[in-house]
Every structure is written in structure tokens, then in C-alpha cells.
Symmetry: C2
Subunit: 491 residues, 2 copies
């Protein structure tokens, strides 16, 4: 609680100098250790206006290599940011492995400002729960997360505002929002207490810092950062890829394992229905645009299941200005140094737009699991993380469709052989496809468990019989249409 904190705490200059001399060395070394260990850190700063964040931050950062940290200013969302799912702007600022992200304001700003009515948009009721989930994802994957609140009394804030106003270089710093905070100091303080109570965890703790004396605040913050970094560097788990048995029992999906692959449709019937369904989707796309409903469609399935052709039929009549198709392969470049969900957050659709993924975040529990690219601990945890990711999109209004296009072992073989024989299809088949085929059973088990664990009420899997491509295309279209229509009805 803020009221438990002695805002008068201070430090003598000599003690401060001694403490900082030691801290500078420690932090300089720790930054290099964190870099070497590939450990990312997020240090979030909230606090009263004029609490001295700028000066404290400046001093803390001095011993650090400026190429290794980035200060992100997370004030009000811009109009473009507000067209996207809420959390996207934070994901876009995530530090890569070994880097330090200094968040000047953070996701908490939304709640805190909301309490005194200076927000541009309302904050959803479950927002703090969503924040907890986000922070858990980050800390589970090894990110150090620290949250500071710089605390000064109401009188002290008033004194500082007066001082700023008296200097023409700085007087602009006291604006409408600042005055409002001053006026509603008590309501804001209550909101801070509430936020801290709801979101303080061992892995991502809040630290309230008395900031009347900048020297005291600086040393407190520096010590806390150094301690957290030391703990992280010391406990860095081995990137062990041995396939230990997960402590959760394997589960399987009846829907998947009992799919009827003989389902088929006649050519004339197909042509008739296809065109009708495509035209329907075109109308729905326009309605989504008007009502600002984003649509996410993920395609998964064995090689040669017909995902590409299916997507092409799905998009046939769509306005091309309203959708993007993302082909997902192994992560590359900066993607390799980020949380595995980061690259998908980059491509979540804008309000009213469609994002279609040809393979998706489910690679985490398919190829990364089967090939051992992720530890058992990591991919086991991912089912929950993926559910949370999709829930984020849905909570902000998105429709999420997920297709598993299934084909039989024999059908895949037949398609591979045909690709080998047909000149203009040869580019579609590689040695890797043949290697993956050998792991059919392992992929089968992973798929079954994936579907069982990530089929949720608002983001269910649709298992599509794919031996007959025509049937699969109609089924995907029909599913997307009905899911969107249902969402628009409730909108």
C-alpha cells in the first residue's frame, strides 16, 4: 500500500556516491552477463507525474551500453494502435533475448489513468487478469520483469508542479492530465493500491519507491535491478532439449482420430456451392469491415493436405485490400530471439481485416515438439499460452477459426508421388517433406493432443477431411461463414 511507504526516506550525498560507484560496476557487468545468457528484461516504470522518472532513469542507465537497452514510451494509444488488439502495442516493444526494455509507463497505465478518467478508450473489466497472464508468459519463458512505482506525496507533487511552471523550458510539462492527476490524487492512489494488490507476483514484483529524494530512489531502483539480474543470471536453466516425460498425461482428440476421410462431394455440386459460399463470404467481409470485426484463420495439416489451394478458394471473392495471407516457416532473424508468439502478434489483423495463416503458432506443439526444438517443459506449457493468445484476440472482438485439414498416410504418399512426376509441381516437394513423412506417427499423436488441449468454446478446431479437396474447401468456407455470421449477430 502506498500509505505504508515513508516518502521522506533519503540518502546522504556521500553514501549515495559510494552506493552508485558500486552499482555502476555491478550493472555494467550484469548487462553483459544478461546479454551473454540471452536473457531479456522488462523494467516498467509507473509513478506520480513529476516524481522524477526521467532523472532517475537517466542515472540508472548511465553504466549501461545504450545499444543494449531501449526506452519505450507507452503513453496513450495512437489511433492506429487502437485499431489492433490491445496487447499488440506492448508485444511490439518486447526486448529480444539479451536486451533490456525500459517501459516508461506500461500496460498498467490504462487502468491507472482510467481511474481518473483520462483514458481515450474504456478499459475492459478483465484487463488486470489479462495482464497477469501476459506477465506469466514472459516470466515463464525467462524474461525478467520488474515494476516500479515512484511515489511522492500530494504536497510534494504540488511543489514540483509549481517549480516546473516557473521555468519556461519545462512549463509545458504540466498540462491538463497532470493537473487532473493532482486534483484526483486520492482516487489515483487507491487505483495504484488496487493494481499492485492484483498484479504483484513473485516472478513479476511491484516495488514502491519513495521518490522525494532522487538519490534514495535511484539507489533503491538500481539495487533492485541488480538483484533481479543476478538472480536471473545465476538460475538460468539449461536449454535442455532431452525429451523428458511431461508430467501431464497425454490426451487425444476423438474428433480428430475418428474423422471420416471418405467424405467427398461431386464436381457439379461443388461448383454450385463454392461460388455461392464465396459470394456470401465477400458480403460478410464487408460487414466485418463496417463493424470493425477482425478475423483470424489458421490452417494446419500434414504436408500436401491442400492448405494452399484451400486458402485460395477461401479468398477468391474477397476484397484483396482487406486480407493478408501469412506463410509460416521456421523463425528467422530477430524472430529467433523473441518469444515464440511474438512474430504472430506482429501479424494480428487490424479491426475489420482478415489475417489468414498457412501454418501458425501451433508449430510450437507440432514441429517444435516432434523435432525437439522446444523442451518438453516449454511445449507442454504452450497449450495454455496459445489458448491465452487466442483469448486475447477474442476478448478484443476477433473471430478465430482453426482448421486441421487431414489426409491419410496413403493419400499423402500418392500426392507426393504425383508432385514428383509433374514438372510444374516439383518445386512443391522437398527432401524435408519425405523426412517428415517418416515421423507420421509422432505428428499424429502431437496433433491429437493439440486439438484436445486447444479446442476452446470460442476458438474451436475444425477437423476437415481432406482426402477430397473439394469437400475440404467447401467445409472451410462454410465454417468461416457461419462463425462470422454468428459473431456479427452478437455484435
Amino acid at each position: 500500500m502506498l500509505s505504508d511507504v515513508n516518502t521522506k526516506a533519503k540518502l546522504k550525498k556521500a553514501d549515495y556516491k559510494e552506493a552508485m560507484a558500486a552499482l555502476d560496476v555491478r550493472l555494467g557487468i550484469l548487462q553483459r552477463d544478461m546479454k551473454e545468457g540471452g536473457i531479456p528484461a522488462i523494467i516498467a516504470f509507473e509513478g506520480w507525474q513529476a516524481a522524477g522518472k526521467g532523472a532517475v532513469l537517466n542515472r540508472i542507465l548511465q553504466p549501461l551500453d545504450p545499444r543494449g537497452f531501449k526506452v519505450s514510451n507507452l503513453h496513450h494509444s495512437t489511433d492506429l494502435e487502437m485499431m489492433y488488439p490491445r496487447m499488440r502495442r506492448f508485444w511490439s516493444q518486447m526486448p529480444r533475448d539479451g536486451k533490456i526494455g525500459i517501459f516508461n509507463h506500461s500496460w498498467y497505465r490504462l487502468v491507472l489513468d482510467g481511474a481518473i478518467g483520462v483514458n481515450r478508450a474504456p478499459v475492459p473489466g478483465n484487463f488486470l487478469e489479462r495482464v497477469r497472464t501476459l506477465e506469466k508468459q514472459l516470466t515463464d519463458s525467462g524474461t525478467v520483469v520488474l515494476k516500479f512505482f515512484l511515489h511522492i506525496s500530494r504536497n510534494e507533487q504540488e511543489r514540483r508542479f509549481a517549480e516546473l511552471r516557473s521555468d519556461s523550458t519545462y512549463s509545458w510539462k504540466v498540462g491538463k492530465d497532470e493537473r487532473r492527476q493532482q486534483k484526483r490524487y486520492k482516487a489515483y492512489a487507491e487505483s495504484v493500491d488496487h493494481v499492485i494488490a492484483e498484479s504483484h507476483t513473485d516472478a513479476a514484483p511491484w516495488i514502491i519507491v519513495p521518490s522525494t529524494d532522487a538519490r534514495y530512489a535511484t539507489v533503491q531502483i538500481g539495487e533492485a535491478i541488480a538483484a533481479a539480474f543476478e538472480a536471473a543470471v545465476g538460475s538460468k536453466p539449461d536449454r535442455d532439449t532431452s525429451q523428458r516425460v511431461p508430467n501431464v498425461p497425454a490426451v487425444s482428440s476423438k474428433e480428430f482420430e475418428s474423422v471420416d476421410l471418405s467424405a467427398a462431394v461431386e464436381k457439379t455440386e461443388y461448383d454450385r456451392q463454392l461460388s455461392r459460399l464465396q459470394k456470401r463470404l465477400r458480403r460478410l467481409q464487408h460487414e466485418c469491415y463496417r463493424k470493425r470485426v477482425p478475423v483470424v484463420i489458421a490452417y494446419e495439416g500434414p504436408d500436401a493436405a491442400g492448405k494452399g489451394g484451400n486458402i485460395r478458394r477461401l479468398t477468391r471473392e474477397l476484397d484483396p485490400r482487406g486480407y493478408d495471407v501469412y506463410g509460416v516457416a521456421a523463425p528467422e532473424g530477430e524472430e529467433k530471439y523473441q518469444h515464440y508468439l511474438w512474430r504472430f502478434w506482429r501479424n494480428v489483423p487490424k479491426a475489420g481485416h482478415f489475417a489468414i495463416f498457412d501454418r501458425s503458432w501451433y508449430g510450437r506443439v507440432l514441429v517444435e515438439r516432434v523435432e525437439g526444438f522446444a523442451t518438453v517443459e516449454a511445449w507442454s506449457r504452450s497449450y495454455e499460452e496459445i489458448n491465452a493468445f487466442e483469448r486475447e484476440l477474442i476478448d478484443d472482438g476477433a473471430v478465430v477459426c482453426k482448421f486441421w485439414i487431414h489426409i491419410s498416410d496413403e493419400e499423402q504418399l500418392a500426392r507426393f508421388e504425383e508432385r514428383k512426376r509433374t514438372a510444374h509441381k516439383q518445386w512443391k516437394i522437398t527432401d524435408e517433406d519425405w523426412r517428415n513423412r517418416e515421423k507420421w506417427d509422432a505428428y499424429y499423436a502431437a496433433t491429437s493432443e493439440m486439438i484436445a488441449r486447444t479446442s476452446t468454446k470460442s476458438a474451436p478446431w475444425t477437423v476437415v477431411p481432406g482426402n477430397d479437396k473439394r469437400f475440404a474447401r467447401l467445409m472451410a468456407l462454410r465454417t468461416v461463414n457461419s462463425r462470422i455470421a454468428a459473431a456479427l449477430k452478437n455484435n
Copy 2:
């Protein structure tokens, strides 16, 4: 001229079907050829409202792999985009090598809309010249650039608006801006003629497409794209890295070659001045923030010249929320598949912010030249491209400072030896540093030519004697301060 075009041109259904069947095959193959050849393409679409862009685009894109193109909607700038240099939003949408960027509207939108007063911000007078420069940079580096204008008569537009308004799914498409264009059809048409006259080039041609008949428009556009891709695939130059002699005579910089490396400053004098200059810069930073002046500072110099330490002194008193430091190494990930300036456009500063580069875009004419990573043709062309890049920033209000911190051959050796001896500095020295040292003369010549060719009036190089680190730090600070102060005075 629009008036020369027969908007009534049309195609019979049978001819259309035959033409499209052939086009689909051609475009499908060409997309793969372009991908294989690593050739990027930008296809920009402008045209009258309701000219049928969506439908035509949809049809053209059907034979293409949707993972290989991206449709970018470039309507009005968002408020965030308007905080950045104008061209940044276009650079952020650039297709990588082998991909196709479909620009739904483009940089021309600004001028065209300006003509009928529906812009959010005024368009600078030299904008079309800047666009020509941008397109030349793209086509020079091998990007295919095509620009289509979909043309219908005023009566036809009126008819289509009426039709849209009569259907509740589409009536929202006729809004204020659309009505204004209809009303000011003639002024808009004149603006189109002007834009085309000013920006039609062989390498980036405009094609006016009569669009009353969608079939006719679709085939015309498809044929033009196929022809342009065929030409590009056929003429793809070898990525020849042989060091042919450039056709421009080598030039050298007297300022660089005559720099007095004995310049030095006493410790007490240094301490006194440093603190004063840092405090001055802090005040200037606040003024830049208020007046929304962005500041770009590039540091170059031999290994161990003291760039990092210099930057640290420069940023010492700055508000960390207002600057970023970018360490520039070899391009990685997607950067490798983009124009060499692309990654720097990503990091240009927001209005009122500082971006400091520890090494920069000048790598193109230093390491890429000396090590043969760029062809002679490519790096020779880069001086002009770099000047144009900096001019872009300056035209939009930025202050650009460039420092070459110079040290002597002997001083570098001494610093390398010291790093080797000192435990906590060993991480700073690598085998590559020693290898680079062997090419001292080649780097010296490249530096001299670079400074001669890219020292412009508004973005001059400052050659900083660096043997005495203290002197170099004061000089950089003093230069930044006076350049900013001069800019603010004129602001």
C-alpha cells in the same frame, strides 16, 4: 492525359476468358521466377473512387501464391505516422526481395487528394521530386515499379455511386471524400494529368487503364504486369562483385586528410566544459521535443576510435525517454532481403526525439565497399542515395549531425594492445578488428571519398580528432548543441 483515353474500351466475355486463362499461367510462373531471382516488385494502384480497383485486383491476384504478395492500404496517414518523416510509412511497406507489394493508393495519393482538399496535412511543394528520387532508388536497386490509374468518366462514377448507395452492404462506401471527388472531378483529373506528366519514367511508368469495362481493365493490367516481370526476369544483372573501376574519378576530403590529431584538452578544463555542454544539450532536447524537431546523429570512425564512450557522454544528461541509440552491425534476417536503406528508415526518429547511430548507413560506402559486399556500381551510386536519404529527413525538419571520429594508425594499435591486456576490456576486441586493421589504407581512401561526396550544406560531416578522447567528446557535444540551436532559431 486522361482525356486521350477511351474509357469505353471493352472486351467480349469469350476473349476475356481466353486472355485470362493464358495470363493466369504466365503470372503464376512469373511469380515463381521473380521469387527465385529475388526481384521485388511494387505495383501501385490509383484511380477514381468506384473505378473497380477491388474487383480487378482480386482477379489479377488469383493465380498468385498469396504468401508472395501483400496488399498495403495507403490511405490517410495515421497520427503516429504523421510524427515521422513522410516517406517512412512507405518504406515500412516495401516488399522484400522476391515479393510483390501491391500498393492500394501510394505516395501519389497525397498530391491527388491535396488537389481537392481532402488531405489531413499540407503536401510540400517539392514532393513529386522527392517521389521521383525514391522511385529511382528502388528501380536502380532492381525493384520493378508499375503505377496504374483506373479511369472512368464522371457519369460512370455517378452511376456507380448510385448503385452502391442502393445496396445496404456497400452504401457506406460512398462517404464524404467520395462525394467531394465526384464534385471536383475536373480538378482531380487535372491533378492526375500533372502527376503523371511529372512522374512517368521508363523505369517506373504510369499506365492509364480504361475501367468502365472490368474485363478490359483486368486484361490490360495483367498484361502490363506480366510484360514488366518478364523484362525483369530476363535482364536480371549478375550479382557481380568484381571490383571494376568506377567511372567517376576518386575524390578526397581535405578536411579529413588534414585533420590535426594532436588536438587535446586538459582534464580540469574538460570536466568543467563537459558538464556545461551536457546541461545545455538537455535543455535543447526539451526545446526539440516541444517544437517537434527530430535529431539524427551518426557516428563513424575506425575501430577503437571511442565512438561508444563519446555517445555515452553525449547522452549523459539527456532524458532517456527522448532518445534511442542504435548499434549497427551487418544486416540480419529480413534486413538482408531489403534495400540497404530500409533498416535505417525503420529507425528514423519521431518528431522531437533523438536517434543516435553507432555506425550507420555509411557502412555501404565503407565496409561494403572495402570488403566487396556491394558492387562498384552499387556503392558508387550510394553517395547520391545517401544524400537523398538525409535530405528527406531534413526536408521534414530533422537536424542531421555526422561525426567521423578519427584516430591515427598508431593510436589504434595502442588501444588494441591495451584492450588485450585489460581483463574487463577483452570482450571489446576480436579477430575481425585485427583483420580490419590490415586494410587501414583501403578504409582511409574510402573514408576520404565518402566525406568529400556526402558532406552537404545541411548535413555536413564533422571530422573529429580522436586521439584525445576528451577533446573528441567536447567537440561532438559542442557541434550537436550549435547545430540544434541554429535549427531551433530558424524554426
